[in-house]
Structures are given as structure tokens and as C-alpha cells.
């Protein structure tokens, strides 16, 4: 297997007297979807916020593409190529798809916004992910369905030349057909060589797209399993704490 895009070892984080992460290990490989599962309060969000540089870890080692990396600010994480798609997506309803995909990184030429270049790149990025459902790349985001919005938010990370894309519950609040759409997109994202970490509560989704499943239980990484070599019941056992197996 190639070098992991990101490798965490012994990561700790506490808020005052509460230890949220008690020495967590996690690996994510390029071209693979790593699902991060665990019950509420297991520390999933804290782990992700550390990777995003929003809440830096207290202790532990972070290797990014084999090199030690510092993740103290969102900017550092972003410049390494770590992009997070949050649950609430953070899109501007009143802007169109192109404008949203380039928000904050607009290209300027001839002293004005280079709409043509941005439009072209946005369309290419969507096409590279085989997105076909949008009517036009100049559609307002307000007219998009939940699944399409998720698509735009994910495609935006591709434009930002991400290497590691972290998705926070990408299928929460979506219907059956749209969930399917987004899961296909997640799969294609990985197939293009991005490392993907997907937080999910839905084990059916996880088993459908993930290559490996990492289970957090009360701040410990109890298992990181290959999807092919595990079962529903095993994973549920780890999530609920019935099964214990620290390490790989």
C-alpha cells in the first residue's frame, strides 16, 4: 500500500477535566474511503476539528503524506490540502454554482472577475466527478436539491486541490435517491485518488462505500477494520462497546 495521506498516532485532546480523545490512531490512504463511526460523544467531531486545524490536538503525532505536519490553524490545514465539507454545507443560496465553488478564491484578470475561466473550471470539476444532474452551472444554489447542494460542496474541495476530503455526515437528511447519488460521488472522489474520510451514522451507507471503517468509542479508537473483512454486527459491537479490541 502507498504512503497514507494522513496518519494520526496517539492523538489526545481534552477540554478542561474531560478527556475527549485519549490517544487515537487513524490512517487514511489516497484512493480510499475511510469511514469514521461511533456513537454520539465518541469524539468524532473533535477528531475532525483537529484535522481541520479548528481545534488543534493537545498531544500526538500527525504525519501528512509521511511528513510530520502541524495543524494549528484552518489555514495550515487548508494549505496542506485538507478540506472539510461540514454538515450545514455553508453555501450562499443567492449565488450560483460557479460563484459558490470559487467563493473566497475568485480569479481575477483584466482587473475584473474572470467569470469565464471560473465557469470553465467549475464545469470541468463537476464533470470529473460525473455530475450530470444540475441543469446549468449558472443555476442558483437556492434552486438545487439537498443532494445537488452536497455535490456542489464536495466538488468545491476538488477545485481547491484538496488531497484529503473530510465529509461530515454527507447523507444526513437526504432521501433515498439522493443518498445514492452522493454515495456514488464519494466513491468517485476516492477513485480519482483523493483520500476521503467520511463521518456517518448510517452503517448501510458505510458498508456501501467505505474501504475501511474506523470505530471510535469514548475517545479511543477501538478498531480500524477493512470493510471486506468485517460484518455489521462486529461494527455495531465496537460502536456500542460490547466488543473491545484496541489497535489494528
Amino acid at each position: 500500500m502507498s504512503i497514507p495521506t494522513v496518519q494520526l498516532s496517539g492523538v489526545k485532546k481534552s477540554f478542561g477535566p474531560v478527556d475527549v480523545l485519549k490517544g487515537v490512531d487513524l490512517v487514511a490512504y489516497p484512493g480510499q474511503v475511510t469511514a469514521l463511526v461511533g456513537d454520539n460523544g465518541a469524539g468524532k467531531s473533535t477528531l475532525i476539528k483537529g484535522l481541520a486545524g479548528v481545534q488543534p490536538y493537545d498531544e500526538g503525532e500527525v504525519l501528512f503524506e509521511g511528513h510530520p505536519a502541524k495543524l494549528h490553524t484552518p489555514r495550515e490545514a487548508s494549505s496542506l490540502g485538507i478540506e472539510v465539507v461540514y454538515q450545514d454545507l455553508a453555501l450562499c443560496d443567492n449565488l450560483d454554482i460557479v460563484q459558490n465553488m470559487f467563493l473566497g478564491r475568485e480569479e481575477v484578470s483584466q482587473l475584473t472577475l474572470d467569470e469565464s475561466s471560473m465557469e470553465y473550471q467549475a464545469a470541468l470539476a463537476l464533470q470529473s466527478l460525473s455530475v450530470k444532474t444540475v441543469k446549468s452551472v449558472r443555476q442558483k444554489v437556492s434552486s438545487l436539491s439537498g443532494g445537488q447542494r452536497q455535490t456542489v460542496a464536495i466538488a468545491r474541495t476538488v477545485l481547491r486541490s484538496a488531497k484529503l476530503v473530510i465529509l461530515d455526515e454527507p447523507t444526513a437528511a437526504l432521501g433515498v435517491a439522493q443518498t445514492e447519488q452522493v454515495l456514488n460521488l464519494v466513491r468517485r472522489l476516492a477513485d480519482q485518488g483523493y483520500a476521503v474520510i467520511m463521518i456517518s451514522h448510517n452503517l448501510a451507507d458505510v458498508f456501501k462505500v467505505a474501504d475501511s471503517i474506523a470505530v471510535l468509542y469514548l475517545g479511543n479508537m477501538v478498531a480500524q477494520l477493512k470493510t471486506k473483512e468485517t460484518t455489521y454486527n462486529d461494527v455495531i459491537g465496537y460502536i456500542t462497546g460490547i466488543k473491545q479490541q484496541v489497535g489494528e
Binding site: Y86, L103, G104, A123
Partner: protein
């Protein structure tokens, strides 16, 4: 053709583009159409009711009368797009003008005095913006405070009489003097050439990026439209519109090129620069804008500064037209400015609306004022009709958006 398979909205022949436009209309994206409709309707109504409405002098007067309101509503668009409001825009302009007139009376060079007035405008905008963006006081409250306080400043500046005459010929000329006849035609040529050149520029950039572009027919139609509408306007304004036989009044009022130039620059900055894009983004979803790395507080403050500065321009137009400045200046016009923007389809919740549409809205409000005055309606009726038009415009807009499936409140 290009290697793109996704649509960009510019494919297809002229007729397909027209079809797409009408389907957008049906979907509720009406833009300025309700305001333009109101304009045509009111124009026809007043033309039928008053023989004086369509006279040359009143035609030109309409433009001159609406210029002040137009500039103020353009100013307000910058803060309305953020979902904020600046109630003090009018009195800020009034205060600036009071100081301007007092300074020029004291013998100061008028250009210098004007610059000082604009510096005051920028400063007030900066203070309001700072309170709103950095401290978090609602803009309604901050600007209300200025709305209450600034007339006091005006009163102190103007002294006991509370009114001063403007005696700067250059300022009075803006609203009262006209371009030479050829000046109007040059102005028209500049407008048509700019429209055409901008269209070609956009098209060239699209083609360079290997994107589909609309057929050139659209650009021709647009340019011809500008030439015909502008041509008729300039032709009519170049006729002698004087009511007396001894005096000749001809030409396009000087205020028109000034207003057009300012509106052009403001529209350009909203549509084609990062600042404009960020303004819409912050108005649409401040949190998304912040996460995208946009400095939200700076955008907010800048918007208030631009609002106060453009309001100052409307103040200059105002004193030029009425020839004096009094301690109440700008108190009532600010709400008309907000109404004009809303009639033009600008959303008070932020993120939606265009500058040109607000200008059309201002024209609607002005035409009501003008027309009802001509047919001898009591002033009371004027206010009632203006209020009703505002309510109708806002209702049409809300219903259209409801139909398009968007939420009623946010976009």
C-alpha cells in the same frame, strides 16, 4: 465546440434563449419587470389624465426630479444587499451639505468644501459600519441614533434661521443647466459604445475560455435598444421646452451624465469585482462567507462607507435643485429611498437585488409624485398611493418567490 457537457445557460439559438428567459420569468425570477410594468402603467395613466404630463418640460423634469432619490436608493442598495439598513443616509447628506454651504459662505473654495463634506460622509459611514460590524449593534439602531442626532448638528451649523441659500453656481448648474445640443448626442454615443464594447469584451473572454456564448444577435438588440431609447430621450430633451416665447431651454440636464457615470461605476463594482461578489455572499450567508475566508466585518464597514458617500452625492443633487439647505434636509427622503429599492426588487433580507433595478424603482416613486401633483390631487393622496405601490410591489415579489419554491423570507 468545447469539451464541456454541462450546460452554462448560454447555449442555443436566439429563439431558444428567449424561451429560456420566459421560463425563468414563469419560475419567479422577474427582476425589475414589475417595476418596469408599473412605470409603463403609471406613465400611461398620467398621460391620459393630465395634458401637461407629456409636455417636453415635464418629461425632462421627471429625470431631474428623480435624480436625487435615484442616487439615494443606489446608496442604500449597498447596505440593503447585506440585509442591513441605513436610516441616516438622508440626514448624513443633509449635514454634509449644511457644512458645505456654511463653509462656502465663509469664503472657502467650493471644491475643497465639497471634499470636506464627502470626508464627513465617509467618516459617518465608517462609524456606523464599525458599530454594526465590529461591535454588533443592529444597523437599524445605530443609524436611527444618527437619524435623531444629525438634524441637531445641522441646526447648530445652520444657525438660528435653520436655512441657508446655496450660492455656488457650479453646484446649482447640476440640476438647472443643460448640456449643449451636441453634448447629448455625444453622451448617447458613449452609452451605446460602452454597451456594445462591454458585450464584446464578455463574449471574447467566454470564447477564449472555450465556453459557449450567446448569439451576437442579443448584443445587437441590446445596443439598438440603447440607441433607440436614448436617441428618443436626447431628441426630446434637445427640443425647446420653454413655456415662454422669449426664453429658450434646450439640452440634456447636466445631472444626467453625472448620475449615469456614478451608477455605471457602482454597478461595475457590484457585478465585476471581488468586493461586489463578497457583498452578495455576506448578504446571502455570512457564515458561509466567513468560512470561505472573506473578511465579513471589513465588507460590512465598506458597504456603509459607500452608502454614506453616495448619499452625499444625492445631497448635492438635492441642494442643487431646491437651492437651499435646511435643518430638516434628508429626513423624509430616506424611507422613500428604501421604498424605491424594494419596488425595484431589492430584498430587505439581503443578498438579492440589483442597482439598476433600484434606480427604476426610484423612477416609479418619482413618477407618482410628479403625476399626482399634475392632476391636482391633494398631497395626502400622494403618500397613500406611494405606500400602496410599495406594498403591491413587495407582494408581487413575495408571491413570485413563493411560486419558485424559495422560502418567503430568505431569498
Amino acid at each position: 465546440m468545447s469539451d464541456l457537457t454541462l450546460k452554462t445557460g448560454q447555449e442555443g439559438s436566439t429563439s431558444e434563449q428567449f424561451k429560456a428567459y420566459f421560463s425563468r420569468l414563469r419560475a419567479g425570477e422577474m427582476g425589475a419587470l414589475p417595476a418596469v410594468g408599473a412605470l409603463v402603467f403609471l406613465g400611461g395613466l398620467f398621460a391620459a389624465l393630465s395634458p401637461f404630463f407629456l409636455t417636453l418640460i415635464n418629461f425632462t423634469n421627471l429625470f431631474v426630479q428623480s435624480a436625487t432619490l435615484m442616487m439615494l436608493s443606489a446608496a442604500l442598495v449597498f447596505v440593503l444587499l447585506l440585509g442591513e439598513i441605513d436610516l441616516s443616509a438622508g440626514v448624513t447628506a443633509g449635514t454634509g451639505m449644511a457644512i458645505f454651504v456654511q463653509l462656502t459662505k465663509g469664503g472657502m473654495n467650493w471644491v475643497l468644501a465639497l471634499i470636506l463634506a464627502f470626508i464627513l460622509g465617509i467618516f459617518i459611514g465608517w462609524v456606523i459600519g464599525t458599530f454594526v460590524a465590529r461591535i454588533g449593534v443592529p444597523s437599524f439602531v445605530v443609524s436611527l441614533a444618527f437619524y435623531l442626532a444629525l438634524p441637531g448638528v445641522m441646526l447648530m451649523v445652520l444657525g438660528d434661521g435653520g436655512i441657508l441659500r446655496v450660492e455656488v453656481p457650479e453646484i446649482l448648474a447640476i440640476m438647472n443647466n443643460n448640456l449643449p445640443l451636441w453634448g447629448g448626442w455625444v453622451l448617447l454615443a458613449i452609452c451605446a459604445a460602452t454597451t456594445f464594447a462591454m458585450g464584446l469584451w464578455d463574449r471574447a473572454r467566454r470564447l477564449k475560455a472555450k465556453l459557449p456564448a450567446r448569439p451576437l444577435t442579443f448584443l445587437y438588440i441590446k445596443t439598438v435598444g440603447v440607441i433607440v431609447l436614448g436617441g428618443v430621450t436626447v431628441y426630446l430633451m434637445n427640443q425647446n421646452r420653454s413655456q415662454s416665447s422669449i426664453l429658450q431651454i434646450t439640452g440634456v440636464p447636466i445631472v444626467i451624465p453625472i448620475a449615469l457615470a456614478i451608477l455605471f461605476v457602482a454597478t461595475f463594482s457590484l457585478d465585476r469585482t471581488r468586493f461586489g461578489r463578497y457583498l452578495y455572499a455576506v448578504g446571502g450567508n455570512p457564515e458561509a462567507a466567513r468560512r470561505a475566508g472573506i473578511k465579513v466585518a471589513r465588507i460590512r464597514t465598506t458597504a456603509f462607507i459607500i452608502c454614506s458617500s453616495l448619499a452625499m452625492v444625492s445631497g448635492v443633487f438635492n441642494i442643487s435643485r431646491i437651492g437651499n439647505v435646511e435643518s430638516n434636509a434628508g429626513k423624509s427622503i430616506v424611507l422613500s429611498g428604501v421604498a424605491a429599492a424594494v419596488v425595484g426588487g431589492v430584498s430587505l433580507f439581503g443578498g438579492r437585488g440589483r442597482l439598476a433595478h433600484a434606480a427604476i424603482g426610484a423612477f416609479v416613486i418619482s413618477i407618482i409624485d410628479n403625476g399626482l401633483g399634475l392632476i391636482g390631487m391633494p398631497a395626502g393622496i400622494n403618500f397613500i398611493v406611494t405606500g400602496s405601490v410599495l406594498l403591491i410591489a413587495a407582494t408581487i415579489d413575495a408571491l413570485a418567490r413563493k411560486r419558485s419554491g424559495g422560502s418567503l423570507l430568505r431569498l
